[in-house]
Structures are given as structure tokens and as C-alpha cells.
């Protein structure tokens, strides 16, 4: 089937090889070929955008231009990378003057932004290119209706005119595995990742409020599609025992881990042992 150029970023490979491996294994099951983009730069994160807008657009335009030469769409598993690439793509597509200025710079590297290769989040490829029906047919170990809360992540959904992603994409993808989607009051709220370098206490409070809202609504597990959100909800959860005296015991799984298990991959293939809050209890929830 189709081939994609993967922009993996630096956070996923450095901190969450379980996300990277499960994404690759799931893609393989659907006959998708994922090829790592070569010689690309770090997206810089929203913090680079805050201090150096021109530099941020330039590094990301460079990545987009390299992808253009592969003639495949760019796929990324990280909301931060997706947000950066999609925003710069949108800017360069809609602002000719800016694009000309950027291309004048890129020319020195022998590159040109044309915008033929579109930046896409991996979940959107699953939803649009593979499709719910094809996924459903391959599910061999459906879940038993266990309640999973979704943390979408701000830069996946907003600004909507730029990201072009609606919440249904991920909620439908969770439901197709046989799990139930738990609705909770703070579903839109930020995990706090961006503000971490400026105000750590605030960032932790945001993560804590989010976890509490999920837990209060009856979630047994939660899913994320971004390494920064995972830092906040999984890793920080361990620290909350001390700072807030609260223990949520809410396992946080990357979506491809959940889908992978339902497709029959085993726990090691999706790297389940690497999740910080023990995620193995999910293995008790297959319906057959």
C-alpha cells in the first residue's frame, strides 16, 4: 500500500521507543511503509516559536522541503512536531511573500518549499487512509468495553483551521478496538507541557487536574498521542504522590499500543513494560 515519510522528532525516539515501535508494528500490519526522513532538523517546539519565529519557520520549512523531494506525505507521531510542521505549512501555503523569503533562504541549501508533501499525524493516516472498516476486520483481540479516557493534546486539535483534526478521529479509533471512551469534564484542557520550563508548579497542577478529572469520571486507562503529553500524565503522575499526596494509578498508553494489542501484538512488541505507571493491567481486559 502507501509509503510515508516519517518525521519522528527527537522526543519520541529519545524518551518513548515504545511509541515508535508500536507505530511501526501497527503500520506494518496494514501494509503501510514508513520511511524515516533523512537529514532533518528538530522542530524546535513552541518555545522556539516564542523566541524566534523566523528561525522556527525556517527549520520547519526546511523539513517540509526535504519531504517535498520524497513525494510522500510526512507522518509524525508527535503533537508538538505536528503542530509546528502543520502551522508552518499553513503559513507558507497562504502567505506568498513569506514563502518567497523562506525559499530565498532555502535555496542556499539547494531546497525549495513547494507544499506537495502534507504534514499529517499518524492517527489521521490510520483513520483516513486505512479506515475504520479495514481496522475492524483485523482486530483479533477486542477489548471488553473497558473505559479509556482520551487526552487529545492541544496542538493536535487547535487551531482547528490549521490542524484540520477533529476529536472524533481519535475517539472512533479507540472505540474500534472494543474499548469504551470515557467522557470527562476537562477533556479539552492542556496537560501543561509548554509551560513547564517557565512555571513547573503550574504545569504539575494542570496535569494533576487532568488526571483527577479522568479518574473521577471512571476511566481505568487513558490514551495519548504525544510524547510531551505523556511526560506530563504518565511520568509526572509518579511525582504527584509526594507533591499532592495523591495516587491515581491511571495507566497512560500511546494509542498504537492499544490498537496493537487489539490487533494481536504481544505486550513486548508494543513495549508495554516501558510505561511508567504499570500498564499491564490492560491485558486483563480482552473480551476473548
Amino acid at each position: 500500500m502507501s509509503t510515508y515519510s516519517v518525521y519522528i522528532g527527537c522526543s519520541v525516539p529519545a524518551n518513548y521507543p515504545n511509541y515508535e515501535a508500536s507505530m511501526y508494528k501497527v503500520a506494518e500490519l496494514f501494509g503501510l511503509t514508513l520511511e524515516y526522513l533523512e537529514d532533518v532538523a528538530c522542530c524546535g517546539s513552541p518555545n522556539l516559536r516564542a523566541m524566534d519565529y523566523w528561525g522556527w519557520t525556517l527549520v520547519n520549512a526546511r523539513t517540509l522541503a526535504i519531504a517535498d523531494s520524497t513525494e510522500h506525505d510526512i507522518v509524525t507521531p508527535c503533537n508538538g512536531c505536528f503542530g509546528s510542521l502543520k502551522d508552518v505549512y499553513h503559513l507558507l501555503k497562504s502567505d506568498t511573500d513569506y514563502r518567497n523569503r523562506i525559499n530565498a533562504e532555502l535555496e542556499r541549501e539547494g531546497l525549495e518549499f513547494r507544499g506537495t508533501s502534507k504534514p499529517r499525524h499518524f492517527i489521521e493516516v490510520l483513520y483516513t487512509d486505512v479506515g475504520l472498516e479495514s481496522i475492524r476486520k483485523k482486530i483479533t483481540k477486542p477489548f471488553d468495553g473497558i473505559g479509556i479516557a482520551i487526552h487529545y493534546g492541544c496542538h493536535l486539535l487547535r487551531p482547528g483551521d490549521v490542524t484540520e483534526i477533529t476529536p472524533e478521529i481519535l475517539s472512533e479509533l479507540v472505540r474500534v478496538t472494543g474499548a469504551d471512551v470515557v467522557e470527562y469534564a476537562l477533556w479539552k484542557q492542556c496537560c501543561g507541557a509548554t509551560v513547564l520550563p517557565v512555571d513547573e508548579a503550574l504545569a504539575i497542577r494542570l496535569a494533576r487536574d487532568k488526571l483527577k478529572s479522568m479518574k473521577d469520571a471512571g476511566a481505568a486507562f487513558a490514551t495519548v498521542v504525544c510524547p510531551a503529553c505523556c511526560n506530563q500524565l504518565d511520568l509526572q503522575q509518579l511525582g504527584l504522590r509526594e507533591s499532592y499526596g495523591e495516587q491515581f494509578d491511571l495507566p497512560i498508553l500511546f494509542y498504537p499500543q492499544i490498537l496493537g494489542l487489539a490487533l494481536g501484538l504481544d505486550e513486548d512488541e508494543v513495549g508495554l513494560g516501558m510505561n511508567r505507571v504499570p500498564a499491564k493491567p490492560i491485558l486483563q481486559h480482552f473480551s476473548k
Partner: protein, 180 residues
Amino acid sequence: MTEIGEKKELPDVFIDPIDMSELDRGFRKEIQSMPNGEELSACFACSTCTSACPIANIWEIKPHQLIRMIILGIREKVLSSKEIWLCLTCFECQERCPQGVRVTDIFFDCKNLATEEGMIPASIVALGKELIEKGQLYTVTADWEREDLDLEPDVPGLSTDAVKRVLGSTRTGRLVKGGR
């Protein structure tokens, strides 16, 4: 907090009057000429952005007030505010604005202007330093975890030189070198 029933002395004026001579009339145009700033003037001060913001309750200057201050030209106070750096960049305000004002994007523009004037938190400069010196924000520390999952040991496809080269010649490079 004021106790119920307690008599409260009312101040002579509720809000300090604006000193017209301190306004920077060019500030509005400056923001409007920056990416996604064009819709700024459409703001009709409804404060929906503030209602949508998950942390405006702890801000002294609220999102709709920052927008109004930009329109009026209260440049120094906006650019030196701690609020623009506390913004989560969650885009909830921008998404709900009935006038299409790109509130979060405009706060990004403000942070760029503040940075240019040296008003940037040290922790953000430190991230810029990481990018200039290491060419990436996260480095692999546990390559055995990657190998266990049949992944190549280092970050695939990443060119740290490209980051250093590109950002070395933009504001990030200047910031890290000159402390500004």
C-alpha cells in the same frame, strides 16, 4: 478577601487613568504586520477569550485585556508582562474568539518582540542554547531500550548540524551568543 458585611472604602478611581503620552500608537500596526496579527482590530472586547482560558483566573492581566492593551498601544506593559510567557499555547482562546482574532498567535508575536528587547525568561534562553549547542532538545540516554524493540540506537534521520547551522544565523544564535 472581603468579608460579607464588612464596610469597604471605595477608592477615588477604580482604574488608574491611561496617560495618553505613554501610549505607543505604532504597536497595533506592529502586531498587525506580524504573522496572524491582521485580525487584531476586529476585537470587540467581549472577553470570550478570557472565559475560555484555563488559567486566566491566576493572571493579573487577562487575555482580553492584553489584546485591548495592544490595540491602545500600552506596549511596555504587554511586552514585560509575565502572562505572555505563562500562556500554555493551548489555543482555547483563539478557537472561541467570535471575531476571528488569533489571540494565541498574537501572544507568540508579543513574545518575539519581548525577546528582541531582552525580556525573556532564562529557562527559555536555556532551551535555545540546547538547540544551538546540541542541535536537538532530547537526546537518547537508554539506547538498549531502543535495541530491545529493534529500533536503531540513535534518533533516526536527525541532523543536529542543520539545527545548529540554521538557528545559528537567526535570533536564537544571537540570543545565545550575546546574552540577548
